[in-house]
Symmetry: C2
Subunit: 146 residues, 2 copies
C-alpha cells in the first residue's frame, strides 16, 4: 500500500483524511495482528487523547475500503491486520494456541471445487479454522502472545 494510495481511497469514497485514521492504519501495519484495544494502546503511545470509539469507527471505515482486514482468532475480540500483505487464513490450535497462516492461493486450490459447486465465493482472508495440532502440543500450555 503506497502512501498516497490509501489517502486516495479515502477521498475517492467521500471520506476525509484525518490524523487519527493515518495513525490507526499505521498502528495496524506495525502490530501485525491486533485487537481494537491493542490498536488503541499503540496509537495512544504517541497520541494519548485518541478515543477508543474513534478506533472502532475508523477500523470499520478502513475495513470497508479494504485498507485493513480482520479475522476472529479467538471467540472474543476480532483482530485486525494490514491488507498490504498477502491475503491469508488462520489455523489455530485449541491446545497450544499456535497460529499458522495459509495463503489464499493454497486454500482456494483446496476448497475451490467444493465451493464452486455451491455457487459460493469464500472470503478467504477472514477464515479461521480452529482445531488441534496432531503432534504433542499438549505439552505446551502457553497461550499465544496477547
Amino acid at each position: 500500500m503506497t502512501e498516497p494510495e490509501w489517502q486516495e481511497r479515502l477521498r475517492a469514497s467521500g471520506h476525509r483524511l484525518t490524523k487519527q485514521r493515518a495513525m490507526i492504519l499505521e498502528a495496524v501495519e506495525n502490530l501485525g495482528h491486533a485487537t481494537p484495544d491493542q490498536v488503541h494502546a499503540e496509537v495512544r503511545r504517541t497520541s494519548p487523547s485518541v478515543n477508543l470509539s474513534t478506533i472502532y469507527r475508523s477500523l470499520e471505515v478502513l475495513n470497508e475500503l479494504g485498507l485493513v482486514r480482520h479475522a476472529h482468532l479467538s471467540d472474543r475480540a476480532p483482530t485486525y491486520h494490514s491488507a498490504t500483505g498477502e491475503e491469508h487464513a488462520h489455523l489455530i490450535c485449541r491446545d497450544c494456541g499456535r497460529q499458522t497462516s495459509v495463503s489464499r492461493k493454497e486454500l482456494a486450490a483446496a476448497l475451490g471445487g467444493l465451493v464452486d459447486g455451491k455457487g459460493f465465493q469464500p472470503d478467504y482472508g477472514h477464515l479461521t479454522i480452529f482445531g488441534w495440532c496432531q503432534t504433542g502440543c499438549h505439552e505446551q500450555v502457553e497461550q499465544p502472545s496477547a
Copy 2:
C-alpha cells in the same frame, strides 16, 4: 443421541442430572441453531424461572461433553446446535445472509491434503466460512430467520 446416553455421559463425568440440563439439551435439539438467548426463551416457555446464567453454564458443560456443538454464525453471539445430527460446517453469504451446510465428510475431503501436510486436525463442526453467493443474491436483502 439416545435418551440414556446423554444421561450417562453427564454422570460418567461427575456431573448431575438436572431438569434444567435436560430442558436445555431438548431446546437446542428442537431449535436447530440457536443463540444462548434463544435457548433461554425456548426453555422459559415451559419453565419461566430458569435463569440465563444457567443456560450459559449448562451449554458450556454440554459442549464439553460433546452433547451440543457451537459455531459463530455472526460476529455477535455463538449459535448452538445438536451434536446428534451429522457434523457440519457453515457457509454464510454476507449479502443475503443465506446459510448453507457442508458435511464434515465433504470438507475433510477438500481440506484433508492441505491440513494433513501441516499436522493439523480441524474442528470441522465449528467452522464457518463467510463469503458471497456468486449469483444475484444482492436482490434479497432478507436476513436469515432468527
